[in-house]
């Protein structure tokens, strides 16, 4: 293609595994990008999107290399030019904005020193002009009070501000191509919206081309005109944004879009069965990489890799395009109406306040108090109810859960279970009976399962602790638990390291279920999972509630997930409840300004 800024031909990235077999991280990727064009690369964790992005800069993660194919940026291959040329290319022609910009900034240097360093390397400006240029760049990225910002240290900036500084640095060399790797992941939704609209503006005003990598197709569709869907190292579908979002063709694209929870939807998110295989397990797969999860897979799919075929402005790699377009393999379930909840209240939290620090002696002398993290929070959960707890990071969501679980002492207030059991005290002071009734599931299943215990041992422990079972019954009970979370019994002997992310989270849920709890406290339990897997976990939770009538307190920063799952919701800001009510009311007709702002930032 003439006039293309970046073109990639048949690029494969990977390493040589045992038996000299190539292991592909990225496989046979073709794409071209014209000046000023914006391309979004979407895919689940481990699909190779970051590796592809880094390769565009001529950079490969340790142990990886280009196996075949070519890259041309402005006619030059970043893999073949001299290291000086590459240096110039990386700073001037293209610039990378990594995910954790805050961590990429040097903590011991003022922002100004770091900006100047970038200007020294990547611009032709005379030193006298650097300060003015810094201010101009900061205004460009809409940092408030640029003069003062320059004097600060990185930790004195918020996450969104750090990200803006990183963008300003990337713009210093007036690049023609910006490469972004999940630049808003980890930011709060309201902050994310700001950064996204800034990026949009930059591309429009400066005519900068952009490759934006994210696991979140909704984020991508805010910024990019072209979208490429990656699965297991390959781009399976690529085309203009509107085409892909409105009429996805590839079974994976359709599945991905159907698995995303959305506000105002009558159907449940539809999970994709299974999980993506990691590169070493894909082996020398000759067929379609998606065949293992695809509802339309045929023998041909498993034996012959599909080639890219054009459909109007896009192209798709799939053998069964006709069947896929009929789209009948996705039939999302209708949302169930909330069950008729009894009036009996299971958990009552009254006037709860929590703080982490005790007053220092100086403070107590002056009669001062360190600030409370959670302030006068009251709410109730009925039997069988799923209550959502939403708010931005640091608003005290996890603190409330920890206090209910007895892992964090409260400053004041009362927590009672079933009207009689007092949950104000710490774990050590609670009777077994109370401990059993309240169980906790954590965000990151990698950290919440002991890597040295098998699944069987993990599930057996709460059974031993809370129930008096014979050994035979114990084994049956473990099998039944695995079955309830849809895992095969053979998983008993596996260690967490041998399970995928979604499977680990199922084990963590099964461990909570083992106690036959009345209330399960869930702290962001789906946010470390891919959307297609999250949908399956949400469905599992709904099924469990329907079967056993367990109540859930479900913490999340994702409003659409809460709307999908929960009966009622509590909106938290800075440790205080801003709004509470049934999901239907709060989401349709938010009363508090903060709730309205949160809802407005949902993409």
């Amino acid at each position: 293609m003439t006039g293309s800024l970046l073109s990639i031909e048949n690029l494969s990235i990977g390493f040589t595994g045992l038996n000299d077999q190539p292991i592909f991280i990225v496989r046979d990727v073709n794409l071209t990008l014209a000046a000023g064009e914006t391309l979004g690369l979407v895919g689940e964790s481990g699909c190779g999107k970051s590796s592809l992005l880094l390769a565009m800069m001529g950079y490969y993660k340790q142990g990886l290399g280009r196996l075949r194919g070519g890259i041309a940026y402005d006619g030059q291959d970043p893999g073949l030019v001299s290291s000086q040329q590459l240096q110039a290319l990386r700073g001037g022609g293209m610039a990378l904005i990594p995910q954790n910009a805050g961590q990429a900034l040097t903590p011991t240097l003022r922002i100004k020193a770091q900006m100047v360093e970038v200007l020294r390397l990547h611009s032709d400006l005379a030193p006298g002009a650097w300060h003015a240029r810094c201010l101009a760049l900061f205004e460009r990225v809409k940092l408030p009070d640029p003069e003062e910002m320059l004097e600060r240290y990185p930790h004195e900036l918020s996450g969104g501000q750090q990200q803006r500084v990183a963008i300003a640095m990337a713009l210093a060399g007036e690049p023609d191509l910006l490469l972004l790797d999940e630049p808003t992941t980890g930011l709060d939704v309201t902050t994310q919206v700001g950064v996204l609209s800034l990026l949009q503006e930059i591309c429009r005003d400066l005519n900068t081309a952009m490759v934006y990598v994210s696991h979140d197709i909704q984020v991508i569709s805010q910024v990019c005109n072209q979208i490429a869907i990656m699965y297991a190292g390959e781009i399976v579908e690529m085309g203009p944004r509107a085409d892909l979002l409105n009429q996805p063709v590839h079974p994976y694209t359709q599945g991905l879009l159907a698995s995303i929870p959305r506000l105002d939807q009558q159907t449940l998110p539809h999970p994709i069965a299974g999980e993506m295989l990691q590169p070493v397990h894909r082996g020398s797969n000759v067929g379609c990489g998606y065949a293992g999860r695809c509802a339309l897979a045929t023998d041909q799919c498993r034996e012959i890799a599909p080639l890219a075929q054009p459909i109007a402005d896009r192209w798709v790699k799939c053998h069964e395009v006709t069947a896929a377009r009929a789209g009948e393999f996705i039939r999302p379930a209708q949302k169930l109406l909330a069950p008729n909840l009894s009036d009996s209240e299971l958990l009552a939290v009254e006037d709860l306040s929590v703080r982490y620090q005790a007053p220092t002696w100086l403070q107590s002398l002056r009669g001062q108090q360190p600030p409370a993290i959670v302030r006068a929070v009251s709410f109730g959960i009925r039997k069988g109810e799923i209550k959502g707890l939403v708010g931005e990071s640091g608003s005290g969501k996890s603190t409330i859960l920890k206090t209910i679980a007895g892992l964090q002492p409260s400053l004041s207030g009362r927590i009672t279970l079933s009207g009689t059991d007092d949950l104000a005290g710490p774990v050590e002071s609670r009777p077994r009976r109370c401990l059993r009734k309240v169980q906790l599931v954590f965000q990151n299943p990698d950290a919440s399962l002991n890597p040295r215990k098998t699944t069987g041992e993990i599930l057996r422990r709460p059974l031993e602790l809370y129930f008096d079972l014979g050994p035979g019954v114990m084994d049956e009970e473990v099998d039944a638990l695995l079955q309830r979370v849809n895992l095969p019994e053979s998983y008993k002997g596996r260690f967490p390291g041998q399970l995928s992310g979604g499977e680990k989270q199922r084990v963590a849920i099964a461990r909570a279920l083992a106690a036959k709890p009345e209330l399960i406290l869930c702290d962001e339990i789906t946010s470390a999972l891919d959307v297609s897997v999250q949908a399956a976990i949400l469905k599992l939770l709904l099924d469990l509630r329907a079967d056993s009538g367990v109540s859930l307190l479900f913490v999340s920063h994702d409003l659409a997930v809460v709307e999908t799952l929960c009966d009622s919701v509590l909106v938290l800001e800075g440790g205080e409840v801003r709004e509470a009510g049934s999901c239907a009311e709060v989401f349709k007709n938010p009363q508090h300004a903060y709730t309205q702002a949160l809802l407005a930032s949902v993409l």
């Binding site: 609670r430 906790l440 919440s448 002991n450």
Partner: protein
């Protein structure tokens, strides 16, 4: 996950690990069997031919007192190995106990344990050791207890550092929330997850302790003559080095090959277990 055979396999996967295991294995076997293998009595003196070089009858020659150097070298590691193996075991057991305790409980107890550690680390322990030996003699049990005590102090620090990395994990929190006792949390949640670090650490400590023991013998405090010992052999024969190198070279080769073997094994173990040795606390 990694049982003893699996660990051995991991170590043997690298060439340096293989060499290390062979060296250590050779020394352990030799220590066990040497009393039945040696060609001469270790104390028997061949009159008038002291300092003889290697000959068909005496492969490594004779020492100052006309004793067979090969015999004495083969026997010379036995007490060192006995003392250091049990000493290391003791150091690791008590050191990890207090280290895990301090790391898990935190607060006052942590403060108390760590300040005591600081105090003991400030003591010039070689001198303290000589004092203990001077008062209680140098029987193996005394050596085991004193060396085990001193080398355990470093283990406390190291086990505490490893524990601090584990206690913040959600599975420890989950165990607390479940109502597990502190003892059960330490034994089943923490210990298995610091075990790898402890294994590598003990291997390193073993080689340091061997050096320390040999240094003591060299100074004449380790073993009582005429019991053969490498450090003592080097000390006794070193002034005649120019005249008769073998009585010095043989124990030196034996001691260094054992220490190199242990270090190679420890390195390979660290690599195969994924323990980053650079992050461990010093001393």
């Amino acid at each position: 996950m990694s049982s003893a055979p699996a660990m051995l396999k991991g170590v043997m996967a690298t060439r340096s690990g293989k060499i290390g295991v062979v060296l250590v294995g050779f020394h352990l076997l030799l220590a066990l069997m040497s009393p039945w293998l040696v060609p001469y009595d270790f104390a028997a003196q061949t009159a008038l031919v002291d300092h003889a070089g290697p000959s068909l009858a005496h492969w490594a020659g004779l020492d100052t007192l006309g004793r067979d150097v090969l015999t004495r070298t083969m026997l010379g590691g036995r007490e060192a190995l006995l003392v250091t193996i049990f000493g290391t075991g003791l150091a690791v057991v008590w050191g990890s106990f207090f280290g895990v305790l301090a790391g898990y409980l935190g607060g006052r107890i942590d403060e108390l344990i760590m300040r005591s550690v600081d105090i003991f680390l400030a003591i010039p322990w070689m001198i303290f050791l000589l004092l203990v030996i001077a008062s209680f003699g140098n029987a193996p049990i005394v050596m085991i207890l004193t060396l085990g005590f001193f080398y355990g102090i470093g283990v406390v620090r190291m086990a505490r550092a490893a524990t601090l990395e584990v206690v913040v994990k959600d599975y420890v929190l989950a165990a607390k929330a479940r109502g597990e006792s502190p003892l059960s949390i330490m034994m089943t949640e923490i210990l298995p997850n610091v075990r790898d670090v402890l294994m590598v650490e003990s291997a390193m400590r073993w080689s340091w302790m061997l050096l320390a023991f040999s240094a003591l013998s060299f100074l004449g405090f380790g073993v009582t003559p005429p019991t053969p010992d490498w450090g003592l052999m080097i000390a006794n024969s070193r002034i005649y080095l120019a005249l008769a190198p073998w009585p010095v070279l043989m124990p030196m080769i034996a001691l260094s090959s054992l220490i190199i073997g242990i270090n190679l094994t420890a390195d390979a173990l660290a690599k195969s277990l994924g323990v980053d040795k650079t992050t461990r606390a010093l001393v």
